[in-house]
Amino acid sequence: MDVVTVERLTKCYGRRVGVEDLSLRVPERMMFGFLGPNGSGKTTAIRVLLGFLKPNVGEARVFGFECWSKSAQIKAEVGYLPGDLRLPSWLTCREAVRLFGRVRRRDLTKTGGDLAEEFGLDPNVRVQAMSRGMRQKLGLVLALAHQPRLLILDEPTASLDPLMQDKLYGRLRAVVAAGGTVLLSSHTLNEVEDLCSRVAILRNGRLVADESLDRLRSQARRKVTIRWQSATDALRAPPPDGVDWIERGGLQWRGVVRGPMTNLLRWAAQQPIEDFTLESPDLAEIFRGFYV
């Protein structure tokens, strides 16, 4: 079942296009990466999903409900962390959990308290006295406390230290393992690569890729480095097919493999090579390719 369905969505701000003709599906129990450079339309798409913006054309559905008209029902099962999180300055974590629980008509004290403890957040400090990282942690506590079926996170690790990032990654994996779905908007490519099983990439408001990570990896080109036993061997050896050479001279050759590896491996086995290195596919390079 798809948790999020976006069909031919277009949202403009006056003459400026936010997103254009966007179609997207996010299946249940998946960590879905949402990538794109600044101004590519990620936040606009998220805002449409949350019912903040009304689409000009097309429609967006979450749990089968239309996002604009059934926004309140949808948000009962959604946890959201905005990219630029702002909270009332007088709030403490304890007050926020109690208040949000009252609005949601659920007691969040236990789960909220556990999350605050896990993230190392003092429940009695006011927002005005919190660092950016602490505010981000509070935002995460509030997004996770009601155990939502769908988590929408916009740059969740932006202000977190590496230790806290790991804790969050663990928590997100647990959400998916428990049957939840995570829509993760991020600029951190490694993060998306580590966590997500599928990614959508936006550029200038348009969807330029919507692929599983495995498929993207299979499309990625591997880098090969060969170190010869002697310069004479290197001079004598005929270069194999299927490799675009970046450097070919002296004792070391470096190139990028095109297509299947079989030819290259068979060729290498017959050469007087001292060292042969194949690097794993560089997804960051692929992402950057989509960005430019």
Partner: protein
């Protein structure tokens, strides 16, 4: 009944938490001012009537302020009324209504907290209604405390009261209706503006124009005909205290204006795109 369905206890708690300090400040300000006025004014009454009020110019200014002609003798009705029509009293009531009613959505948009608020499972109508309910109660409190200050001040000073407690209460209710009308106007402006400062500025500009129109209506026929659209034209303590007329008609006009603007504001808020600025 319909409004009760749209209320959310958590949202009301949040609104109360964010407005109680300003509401108490305005209420305390009004109480102290009414009390002081009640204590101080009697010392001027005789001298004022005998000297200053004999000047035609002063009579006209008073008439402009009160919205009614005054005689050459300053009676208790007029003195009681100063506590209700003094510009500081109006400023406090207006400022309270504007400060509270421009918080959502303009204030939340402005400070960027609307994202978190609207990510909760509530409709925009829930938010708007809950905020407005808190304002209505807060406004009643501010006006009520002002009335208590007025009565206590008069009692302590021994000033002969122009009207019964019932009449003073009617004046206070008329002021409450004015406050609700200003609240409706502010809610509407808050819904159409992305910046709270703009909403506040527009509300004050409209109210100052209203004050100007009402004040100048005794001097100029054209302004007088235009004063029908001024909110202050429907707040006339003098008529209640001196002529003992009922403020029901004036209150109905103020409540109708406030309600219409409030409903338009609600419709705009529910239908508009919301982007934090």
């Amino acid at each position: 009944m319909l409004l009760a369905c749209e209320m959310n206890l958590g949202l009301i708690q949040k609104a109360v938490r964010e407005t109680w300090a300003s509401t108490l400040s305005f209420a305390a300000g009004l109480f102290v001012f009414e009390l002081l006025l009640g204590l101080i004014l009697p010392t001027f009454q005789k001298e004022f009537s005998e000297k200053i009020l004999q000047m035609e110019f002063i009579q006209r200014i008073l008439a402009a302020l009160l919205g009614a002609e005054v005689g050459k003798v300053l009676g208790p009705a007029i003195f009681s009324m100063i506590g209700w029509i003094h510009p500081l009293v109006l400023a406090l009531i207006w400022a309270h209504a504007i400060v509270v009613c421009t918080r959502v959505p303009a204030g939340e948009l402005d400070r960027g907290t609307l994202d978190v608020l609207l990510a909760l499972p509530v409709t925009r109508t829930n938010v708007y209604v809950s905020e407005s309910v808190v304002f209505i109660i807060a406004s009643l409190l501010v006006v009520g405390v002002g009335l208590v200050g007025n009565v206590v001040g008069n009692r302590i000073s021994g000033l002969e009261r122009a009207g019964s407690l019932r009449q003073l209460s009617l004046v206070a209710l008329n002021l409450f209706a004015l406050s609700l009308a200003v609240g409706g106007l502010s809610s509407f402006l808050s819904s159409v503006c992305d910046r709270r400062g703009r909403a506040i500025g527009a509300a004050f500009a409209i109210l100052l124009a209203s004050l100007f129109t009402s004040s100048m209506s005794t001097f100029n026929a054209i302004v007088k005909s235009a004063s029908v659209v001024s909110l202050l034209n429907y707040y006339r303590p003098y008529r209640i205290l001196q002529e003992q007329s009922s403020p029901l008609g004036d209150m109905m006009v103020l409540l109708a204006v406030g309600t219409v603007l409030w409903v338009i504001g609600a419709v705009v808020f529910v239908r508009r795109d919301l982007r934090t600025v």
